[in-house]
C-alpha cells in the first residue's frame, strides 16, 4: 500500500468521527501548549539573562585580576566565581603582553579602576573611575546617548564618559543630602558643563576636615584659575568635560550605569603628575614604602576571538597565576541551572501531554473496537499486517500532529499575550525584554514530540488491530 493511500485512509477515518477526533486533539493541544509555554518562559528568562550579560561587556570577555594591590577602588564587575584562589602576580604592562600572546586572544588591555570624586557647584559625589585604552573602550559596546564620542587619548585633559545613574550619586556638599533624600537631581548638563575631578579623594577629605572655610576659599580660587594647583593641602582639581554619557534614564540600568570611564594613559599621566615620587594610592609598595618601577593596573580586559575558547583561555590565564573571570563561564554555570529550570517547567507541561496521550490511546482503542469488522474485511481482502499497523499509527500520529500544530498556534498567542501584559507592567518596573520566548526549534521539537506521543499512544492499539482475527471480524451475527 502506498503511503499516500495510507494517509488518505487514516485521515478519512479521523474525519468520520469529527467530535471524537476534536476532543482527542484538544487534549493534545492543551498538552503541547502547556509544554511550549512553560519552556518558553524558561527560555525568555535565559534570553533576557544573555542579553544582560551581552550588555555587560560581551561574552567573549575575560576579566583578569592580579595580586590584590591593597588599594581601594578595585572593582571587578563580575566577581561571582574563582575568587577563592589568590593570584600571585600583578597586572603590569609585561603581564598584558604575556596575556595577549595566548592563543585565541584577540586583545588584552589594561584597566585601572579607582575611586574619585567629582565636584560641580554645590554638589559632590564619589565615582568609580575606570581608565581604559580606547580600543578596549570601544569593545565595551557602551550604549551612548546621541552626540557622544569616546574619550580622546594622549591629551592633557581627561575626558569622561558618565554613567546614566551617576547623577544619583551626587549630593549636596553642605547638607550631605543626595537624590535619595531630596528626590531632586542637581541641574547639571553633563555634556556641556565642565566638572571638577579629584583623583586624590583622601586628601580632599582631609583638607575638608581641616576647615571648610579654607577649602571654599581655595575652591573659589581654583575656579578662577582653571585647575591649577591651589594649596599644598588640597589636592589638584581637574577641570574635565564629558565626551559622552551612557544612554538611559534613571530607570534603566546596565553594567555601565554606575561607572565613569576615561582614557587610561591620560589618567596615568595625571596620577603620576599628581603624586610625583609619592606612592600612588592603590599601587603596591615595597617594604620600604616605595612604589614599584612598573605601573600596576587593577585588572586586564582580555578579548577572546570565539566564545568556545573562553574557557580554555581562562584556564591558561589561571595557570599563569592570575585570577580570571568571564561571563562565558558564568553563563555556562547558568546554562545548566536554566536547563534544570526548563526541564522542570517542561515536565509540568509534559504531565498534561501524558494525559493527552492516554486520551489518544483510549480513542484509538475505541476506534478499533468500532471497526473490528472493517479491519477484518480489509485483512481478508489482502491488506498486509504491516499496512494495518501503519494505518493506525498514522491515525494516532495525525491526532498528535493536529494537536501539535494547533497547540503551537495557541502557545504563540499565549506567549504574545503574556509578553504584552508583562511588557506594559514591566516597563513600569524597569524590566525590559520578553518573558516568554518561542524559538523555531521549540516549535519543531514540540511538533515532533506531539507526533511521537501520538504514535506511542497509538502503538499498542495498532498492534491489537493488526492481531485481530479476520475470522472473528467477518463472522455473521
Amino acid at each position: 500500500m502506498s503511503l499516500i493511500d495510507l494517509l488518505r485512509m487514516s485521515s478519512g477515518n479521523l474525519k468520520r468521527r469529527k467530535l471524537r477526533t476534536f476532543l482527542t486533539v484538544l487534549g493534545v493541544v492543551i498538552g503541547t501548549a502547556s509544554i511550549v509555554v512553560m519552556i518558553s518562559l524558561g527560555l525568555g528568562m535565559q534570553k533576557s539573562m544573555y542579553k544582560q550579560v551581552e550588555e555587560s561587556g560581551g561574552i567573549t570577555n575575560i576579566d583578569v585580576t592580579g595580586k590584590n594591590n591593597g588599594g581601594g577602588g578595585v572593582i571587578v564587575s563580575s566577581d561571582m566565581m574563582h575568587q577563592d584562589q589568590e593570584s600571585e602576580k600583578y597586572i603590569t604592562d609585561e603581564a598584558i603582553k604575556e596575556l595577549s600572546k595566548i592563543e585565541h586572544v584577540k586583545m588584552a588591555s589594561p584597566v585601572l579602576s579607582m575611586s574619585a570624586m567629582i565636584l560641580k557647584g554645590n554638589y559632590e559625589g564619589y565615582i568609580d573611575l575606570r581608565g581604559m585604552r580606547p580600543e578596549a573602550l570601544e569593545e565595551q559596546n557602551i550604549p551612548l546617548i546621541e552626540g557622544s564620542r569616546l574619550p580622546e587619548t594622549k591629551t592633557s585633559n581627561l575626558e569622561l564618559i558618565i554613567g546614566n545613574l551617576i547623577p544619583e550619586m551626587l549630593y549636596e556638599k553642605n547638607t550631605g543630602k543626595g537624590y535619595w533624600e531630596t528626590g531632586k537631581l542637581p541641574e547639571i548638563d553633563y555634556m556641556k558643563d565642565s566638572l571638577f575631578l579629584i583623583l586624590d579623594s583622601d586628601a580632599y577629605l582631609a583638607s575638608k576636615q581641616n576647615g571648610t572655610s579654607s577649602l571654599e576659599q581655595s575652591l573659589g580660587k581654583n575656579e578662577g584659575q582653571g585647575g591649577n594647583q591651589a594649596s599644598a593641602k588640597a589636592p589638584k582639581k581637574y577641570v574635565v568635560h564629558a565626551s559622552g554619557m551612557v544612554k538611559g534614564d534613571l530607570n534603566t540600568y546596565n553594567s555601565h550605569s554606575y561607572y565613569v570611564y576615561c582614557d587610561l594613559d591620560t589618567l596615568i599621566a595625571s596620577l603620576k603628575k599628581e603624586y610625583g615620587t609619592k606612592p600612588i594610592p592603590g599601587q603596591p609598595t615595597t617594604k620600604s614604602g616605595k612604589p614599584y618601577k612598573e605601573f600596576v593596573y587593577s585588572s586586564a580586559c582580555v578579548q577572546v576571538d570565539d566564545i568556545d575558547y573562553v574557557e580554555e583561555v581562562s584556564a591558561k590565564i589561571r595557570e599563569m597565576g592570575y585570577t580570571a573571570n568571564s561571563n562565558a563561564e558564568y553563563l555556562k554555570s547558568m546554562q545548566s541551572q536554566f536547563a534544570i529550570i526548563q526541564a522542570v517547567l517542561g515536565g509540568i507541561g509534559a504531565v498534561s501531554l501524558l494525559v493527552a496521550a492516554i486520551g489518544i490511546a483510549n480513542t484509538m482503542m475505541m476506534s478499533i473496537y468500532e471497526r473490528t469488522k472493517e479491519i477484518g474485511v480489509i485483512k481478508v481482502l489482502g491488506c498486509s499486517l504491516k499496512n494495518i499497523k501503519q494505518m493506525f499509527l498514522i491515525e494516532a500520529g495525525f491526532i498528535g500532529l493536529l494537536g501539535g500544530v494547533i497547540g503551537n498556534i495557541l502557545s504563540m498567542l499565549l506567549s504574545f499575550g503574556i509578553n504584552t501584559i508583562a511588557g506594559s507592567m514591566g516597563s513600569a518596573m524597569g524590566f525590559e525584554g520578553d518573558i516568554s520566548y518561542i524559538p523555531i526549534w521549540l516549535i519543531l521539537a514540540s511538533l515532533g514530540f506531539a507526533i511521537l506521543v501520538g504514535m506511542a499512544a497509538g502503538y499498542f492499539p495498532a498492534l491489537r488491530a493488526m492481531r485481530l482475527s479476520p475470522l472473528a471480524a467477518i463472522r455473521n451475527e
Partner: protein, 271 residues
Amino acid sequence: MDSWSYGVEVKEKTHGFDRCRERSSEVKKIIEAKHLFKLYRVGDSIVRALNGVNFSIYEGEFCAIVGTSGSGKSTLLNMLAGLEKPTKGEVIINGVHMEKLNEDGLVKFRRENVGFIFQSFHLIGTMNAVENVALPLSFRGVPKSKRMKIANEMLDLVNLKKHKKHLPNQMSGGQQQRVGVARALVVDPKIIFADEPTGNLDSHTSEEVMRLMQKVVKEQKKTLVMVTHDNHLAEYADRVFHIIDGEIVKIVDNREQGKEESEESGKERKQ
C-alpha cells in the same frame, strides 16, 4: 482482455508461485484438500468441525459446498481461504501449502490469488461504490487513477453504472452484493470464495446475483467456491459438495445432466 493486463504487473516477486502455476495448469487442479481435520475444544468436549476431508477443485469450476448450519462448511471455506489453520491435513492451493504459511504469507497469498464475497457484503460504509471496489487494489499499491479506472470497468460488468458514486447505505442489498462481486473480481483473482453470498438477500435478488456470478465466472474463467445451505442455489454450480458433520458425503456434478455421480468421502475423483 485489456483490463486484466495489470494483473501481470502486480504479480511482483512470485516466481515460486508462477512455477507452481505452470505445473498446476497442466493438471488443472487448483485446490486440493487432503485429510483435513479441524477440532474445536468446547468446554471439556472436543467438537470435530471437519473430520478428514479430501477433495479437489479444478480450474474454472464453479463449486458449491452445501450443508446445514454446523455441518462444517464455513470452517472448510475459511480453511481453503487461509483464514483458519487446519488441526491436521493439507490444503494445497495453486501448488502452495496453505497450512505452512504464516499470517503474513497468508495475507500476501490472499492479496494475490483470492477474491472474497461475503454474506453481509462488508462494504466500507464511508466509501462509495467505486472506492469500495478499488480498495483491494490499493493494498497492492496500484495508483489511484489506475485502480479507479479498473473499478469503473468492474462496476460496468456487474450492471451498476448508475450507482458508482453511491454509498453502501444508499443501495439495496442486491446492489451492494453486486458491488461485493465487483470487488472480488477487481484483483483478477484465480479463485473467488463466496460465503453465503445470497444469505441476506430475498429470493428474487438472490437469483439475480447468482446468475450474475455464474455468468461472470464463466466469462472470466474463474474458479468459484461458494458455501450455501440452500440446495436450490447450489444448482447454479458445476459441482456440489454435500457436507454433513464435517464429512463430504456426496459430490454432484450438474454438468453431466441427469447422471448423478456420487462418491464416498476420502476418495478422490478421477479424471
